[in-house]
Symmetry: D2
Subunit: 364 residues, 4 copies
């Protein structure tokens, strides 16, 4: 189904970096969900490049909702958000169009689209497309919040510098929500930003690990085969450019542990079943257990670097050199937080609508 | 779509551990694919518990193909494989049915199915179901092999013990194919098995990392949104019980690296575009670049351990203790290799059939 | 998705006429639905050839449910029903395998499957496959009935002979339920059967119109685009062999009418909104309005006739003659009633599960 | 998937009659398809109200393609077409918002969307939405034409007045293509238009039968279960407002015929297999046989009529009267031709892309 994801609640994305507009169609929304432009703007602001750790490009995202909202609330029919591309750079992409940027999709896009792809600024592969996704996700996040479900994320690791773990989750989520560089430990945040600036000065870039959490999802949601909660989240998240790994709960460290060290004991607490630990990230057998859903994403260093690299010219089919000019992000991990949250909101909203019906998200 | 996965080539799974049969329906196969029972039996043998590092249970998998094959070849209509459950243990599951085994789906299944689930031996959540998946995958793997595409895997890490990396990939795949404990470095294999036996003696279990490789997939397959190759593989693989993480290429280690360290330079080789390194695991922008697809799975320690654990009785809603009796695998990482390969074959076959049409897999 | 249909509640069909077994996998069922073998047997009996108006073949359908049912109730995991093919005729199909029977799928199957299809007795195209569908549908019909939803059908027309319209719907449904030749007007039934016997004596066959009704579906179910109730019903019903037309409410006769003659006035009745007439068949804008869903299917005459016909041998690629021997149904319209009801049950159950959640069908 | 239809080639629709814009996203297009605005404009013109037999409203459809086209050709990524709603009438919809117009979706929409739907001018249920569909379909029709596949339609019947059958199909298609009132027999066309004007003068409306034909589709496309060609076409076509019936080939008249009268003999012609007649509408067993695909749609009379009707006020829950004011179409059958052709193009393009791969439509 390509550029559409979801079963009961589904998102369709379109647009290219240097086309006229990008946009998203959000379908299957319950009717009656309040759509507040301020919440959308706040999410877009979080994704937007800010400060020296991001690109100097100043993207404007003057979004318009052209369908699916009436009198400030969702109608239940498809909601389309458009974001014009206003700040397109006019430089000549012809000179470099056949030079495959290492780590980018230039070569694979050419193999798939036979040269017809819009090669300017990454085209449909550009991170620009995620602005529409973030706008759509903001609507879902607000609706989920009304049902007691919150989604948040922080940069857990960056070039060896670690943020602290979640402790008081609700308070941590409150703190992270407005941060353009979402890190819980201020000292770690400072070191991370220094590392990014150093990489930038070296004409290089850095990757990192984003940790996401979802609280308030009831137990019993998801499927054993093939739509486990892990399956659906990973499917959607891996389509975000730059994500190269995902792990739930203890994740890869489980390879070093014993069963007794990673099983989560069940316990009664205030008449409710909980787990004493959360090494399985809130999911057993593909199904939520009522604990917070916890996962981490490996986000690769921005592939666009000013350092000289070796590559091929896939038109001439010969070796070539490349040094990527322009204003690029030396790191996108912190900006990816807004995108990961939007994608997570889509998956969770869809799972709940499938489980409890299409009206569930509307609330009381 | 729950127990069905795939678009052009799709698999449906059914059955419970202690029901009459388990089975799989494989749909969308090209007509004319040779179906050799020996290849299916070999794959099932690889999944079957063997030696002291696995359960002492001796599963028989006397599979029968009851549709979709005529004169030894696929017809193009749905192929159904049935595997009767012959060696069901008759012990009383009633006593423990409300005792949530830590790390298992007992509690979450009860929340989802309201007590109607078949709780004997894990029911539909049992690893037993993967036998049908492996049988179906063996047919796909043979067909892919005819088209020059190979899939293999090895235990990359187990309790701190590392296998070597792939070097001569084709030779490595030849060696791994028949191994019940697929490890490239014989010394590492021995240490891993010792570690498993030690854990077993301690009434405990071990997890590990499985590394998979796919060679021969042409460039240009996959989608930017939302069906990236990573997306589809992770979706299908996370539905395999025990998988808690997946990473492609350099994966999580990208968090510690610079862009210049993880970008793969493109180079010409024998008139063909290749990448000098393969840190992106054969995928750029969600689309294959013609290099081997490489990924690793975090497989958790078997949750069934004989050690006493704390839990709840979710019928009485009170705390309880549990020590899981019976013949359990002290480690399933090596047995998961056959399952991961089968799932990978499904995803790759589906991607290729979507890209090149439903007859593609039939070959010349 | 080929041999699987449905979103929340989905059915997968497999098998060939002369293979070992046919079967169906029913997925997405709510847990806790009572599965009564007598109800399944009754539905299969209705589909089975009975009396002189059907084939003299005596099919046995000794079905077995091998998964998804535990202690007499659905578990919520996939339910697989198997029906062995016990009464396979052993005659030689080789002689006629390349002779395209007019009105059958022999030629088109060969174009699609390149000669690898199982050509014996129609293979996967055989009406035999519908036995599995009817068995699965019977489970759904029982569950729907518990929720106040009933499905029934009658032969509305056959060779110019008309049955009366539904009048007291509930009483009519009671009468039709057990009838092997479901016609409301006994005199019409007799004439229809005489017409069939006459056609049979002429080595010919007859078609007819099947009228189906669904009562008790709440208003507000279905989608404007693209999953209207008409869309989903027609999609599923057109895959039943022999169906060549479908119309809802007044249907094709609307071409002869004025708006004022086919609009259904809304009226209040006992505090509830109803329509004074039901010319739109219970559906406005693709969405149920709470009135009975009413539609008619055009079922073509059985294409297997003993009369000599002209055709081609698609192996030799030359003209040929054919007279189809064997025990064939001179009419399948009455037997198609059980199939149409099963398909309708699948669509309605799926729509309701999508609308109200996966537990909806379980009832109180 | 609600407002998205298609597997390999998929269409998503959004918008409301009185919202800011309507639009369509066309995904899965082969790269390199020429996109000519003139062809889109011609299709929109055909759908647009023209002459006294249509509404006096003068819709403008100043479409813009904002993604997926680069240098005049499809890129292979989603193509989004936007059409602003420029000619919105500003009259007050509040007074009538709870008055259920007979034959319309006002009441069912309210049941589904709980009052949050955009009730102005039919909202998302308005025929206005089909403008975006027609624009998208025009692109597909041009691409199909390049592959030798043509789609056309005519008003076969209207209030008892019949058009002639297709004879020289290619010549008939040439004639029909530009006609705003597509009828092959000029005398019939005149009578039909007179009948419409008479109905209009009576404050009433008329329905009719639209007959569609598709030539050039190769044999072997479609599925036995559940994606027969009839299934997919009917699914998509029934979501068009006003369609209440569909029949293929001889269709409902098969109920009056014998097998020998409706079977199509196969014959050799110029070394190719054809059928001597086409009573099955080009489809056997759900799969194309290479003959023209032929079907008819029952289109109901426009429900908006000026005559007084009885209805309910579903807010007050009481009986009421209604006479629908405004400029309404006295008949939409002729305008529906452009819509039916667009929907047909989508289904055929999708089927071919699934069968032969995503590049198939690109052509040489």
């Amino acid at each position: 189904m390509k550029n559409t994801f979801g079963t009961s609640v589904a998102l369709t994305l379109f647009g290219e970096s240097h086309g006229e507009m990008i946009g998203a169609v959000l379908d299957g929304l319950a009717p009656g969900i309040a759509v507040e432009e301020a919440a959308i703007e706040a999410a877009l602001q979080k994704r937007r490049p800010q400060g020296a750790v991001s690109t100097a490009r100043r993207e404007q995202d003057p979004f318009r909702i052209v369908s699916g909202v009436f009198n400030g609330k969702t109608t239940g029919t498809p909601l389309c958000i458009l974001i014009p591309n206003e700040n397109k750079k006019s430089r000549d992409y012809e000179a470099t169009r056949f030079l495959a940027r290492p780590g980018h999709a230039d070569y694979t896009a050419n193999e798939k689209y036979h040269g017809f792809q819009d090669y300017r600024g990454g085209g449909h592969f550009s991170g620009r497309i995620t602005a529409a996704l973030v706008a759509a996700g903001a609507i879902l996040q607000s609706a989920l919040r009304e049902k007691g479900i919150r989604i948040g994320s922080h940069v857990k690791a960056l070039h060896g510098i670690l943020d602290r773990e979640f402790s008081d989750i609700e308070a941590d989520l409150d703190r992270l929500a407005p941060m353009p560089f979402p890190v819980l430990d201020a000292a770690a945040a400072e070191k991370m930003q220094e590392a990014i600036l150093t990489a930038k000065a070296e004409c290089d870039s850095l990757g990192g690990i984003l940790e996401c959490i979802v609280t308030g999802v009831p137990a019993g949601v998801g499927e054993p085969w093939f739509d486990s909660v892990e399956s659906l989240l990973s499917h959607a998240l891996f389509s975000v450019g730059g994500v190269k790994g995902i792990e739930f709960g203890t994740g890869f460290d489980m390879a070093n542990r014993k069963g007794s060290e990673v099983n989560d004991d069940f316990r009664m607490e205030n008449g409710k079943v909980i787990t004493a630990t959360n090494r399985n990230g809130g999911i057993n057998g593909g199904i939520t257990n009522g604990m917070p859903i916890l996962f981490r994403l490996a986000v690769k260093p921005t592939p666009s670097i000013a350092k000289q690299q070796q590559t091929v010219d896939f038109s001439a089919m010969e070796n070539a050199d490349i040094a990527i000019e322009g204003r690029h992000d030396p790191c996108i991990v912190h900006r990816a937080a807004a995108v990961a949250e939007a994608v997570t909101a889509l998956v969770i909203a869809d799972l709940l609508a499938q489980r409890f019906g299409t009206d569930w998200l509307k609330g009381a």
